[in-house]
Point group: C2
Chain length 248, copies 2
DNA sequence: CCAAAAGTGTTTAGACTACACCCATGA
DNA sequence: TCATGGGTGTAGTCTAAACACTTTTGG
């Protein structure tokens, strides 16, 4: 009984049947913000099970390909530029009947992008990809393929935790941004309102969160006082973290 | 280009070669505290690559077996009782050459146990399992199999984060414990010293962290004032979290 | 001048640190 | 009575929440 692990791990001649092998896919959950709404890049399946339902972009890794590279590749074609996309692993999903065809394990990565221009990326061709707003993909009517509704719920939680504990929110802003743009990132992700004054101080008092940007492009097209421009700093930890609570 | 995901995911007749299948194992990292030292349950490989080196207990899941169940099974035989073991997923490890034999993906779970009695579990038979102290398995001399040194490092980080943010530390204590026993859990995990008075208040002021236990078994065998006994509460979140820093 | 947005000051409340201090037991 | 470990009280500090206030623009 105590050698139960060695029995499985030390097969010098592994059998190629479904006791020792499994189907493996890597997926990427890419967040962005569209019209002040937290949104997720999804693709519509056009064949196989769950046809015409939506999933996180994914693929099977190549034999010598790292899991994260595979996840990055799964969404690279859908994103406009060679974005310096940083992915973090959410985890592995492997419930036995999550895929009706066969035992399947999916490793999920997630990241953020300041903007996603699907039209540019697709070069005008029709695409089965869409950027779906939070309110839509969390509604009961939205049709996720496989267990991707659960995964989407988990990955939103991971994003929110990252926003409270790190300075990752700057990666959801353009290269130069104002304090209220940064604030609206938090308001979109948590679907809540943030006190502007205290937010301002908390961010400025966190070393490395932001750096001042040259006010060269300040055009002051708004009504009020023209804002200062900032650029993203390093990815630093917030201590203590924000205490935002998601309202949905 | 934009349908790159569909190409891989929607094969109704998946080919059984190493492009679409991979070897999968589930492992459990079980922490416990032995003589005030954070320790990890490890097994020595007795065949295959990395023979006589140490790994987290693991196995290949059965076709219809959930990943977490498989991880639990991998260490169940090594633990004395049917401990109500709660496992959390750490993540998936799948670097292409982490196993010299073939492409291999390992999903790691972790949990804590108040005590591990290997002799009782093995029923007196010789076992290839050992509870290894932190100072030993983090030393340069210690020989981990595969990439399990990286995994061990990551899982210690996950444990420490859980201790700062939740009340999981009570699960590393016996059913009834004193405040200083609980405190020594933190001191062992973070290899640091904790101010007793402030620790006491922080724990008592967190609703659900602990509940008073009947002082029936108080035997007051020590020198000083007899301590109160507590029992574990629910697994609650600490807000704000502890701010302990690991000293190693 | 007024409205609106940006940014700063000020007050209050909560929580941690540090350290002093009481409590209850064994020797 | 003293040493020892358990537990509480308290002052100083740091931070955040709430809200008033100033600054700078457009109409």
């Amino acid at each position: 009984m105590v050698t139960v692990d060695a029995e499985a791990l030390s097969e010098d001649e592994p059998r190629v049947d479904d006791r020792v092998v499994s189907h493996l896919t890597c997926h990427a959950a890419i967040f962005t913000i569209v019209e002040d709404q937290l949104s997720l890049l999804l693709t519509e399946r056009n064949q196989g099970p769950f046809r015409f339902q939506w999933e996180l972009p994914g693929l099977t890794p190549q034999p010598q390909e790292d899991l994260e590279i595979a996840a990055r590749r799964s969404c690279a074609a859908l994103l406009d530029t060679n974005w310096p996309l940083e992915l973090q692993q959410l985890g592995a999903y492997g419930h036995p009947d999550r895929d009706p065809r066969h035992r399947s394990v999916s490793v999920i990565y997630w990241g953020v992008a300041a903007n996603i221009d699907l039209d540019v990326a697709a070069g005008g061709e029709p695409s089965n990809a869409r950027v779906v707003a939070f309110s839509e993909f969390t509604s009961d009517e939205f049709r996720f393929a496989f267990d991707h509704a659960d995964i989407a719920s988990d990955v939103v939680r991971a994003l929110r935790r990252s926003l409270t504990q790190t300075s990752i929110a700057t990666q959801l802003c353009p290269p130069a941004f104002t304090m209220s743009q940064l604030q609206s990132v938090y308001e979109a992700v948590f679907n809540t309102s943030v006190s502007a004054g205290n937010f301002h101080r908390k961010v400025r008092n966190t070393p490395g969160f932001i750096y001042p940007a040259g006010n060269s492009t300040r055009e002051s097209i708004g009504k009020g006082r023209p804002p200062q421009l900032f650029q993203a700093g390093e990815l630093v930890a917030l201590s203590p973290p924000f205490t935002f609570e998601a309202s949905l």
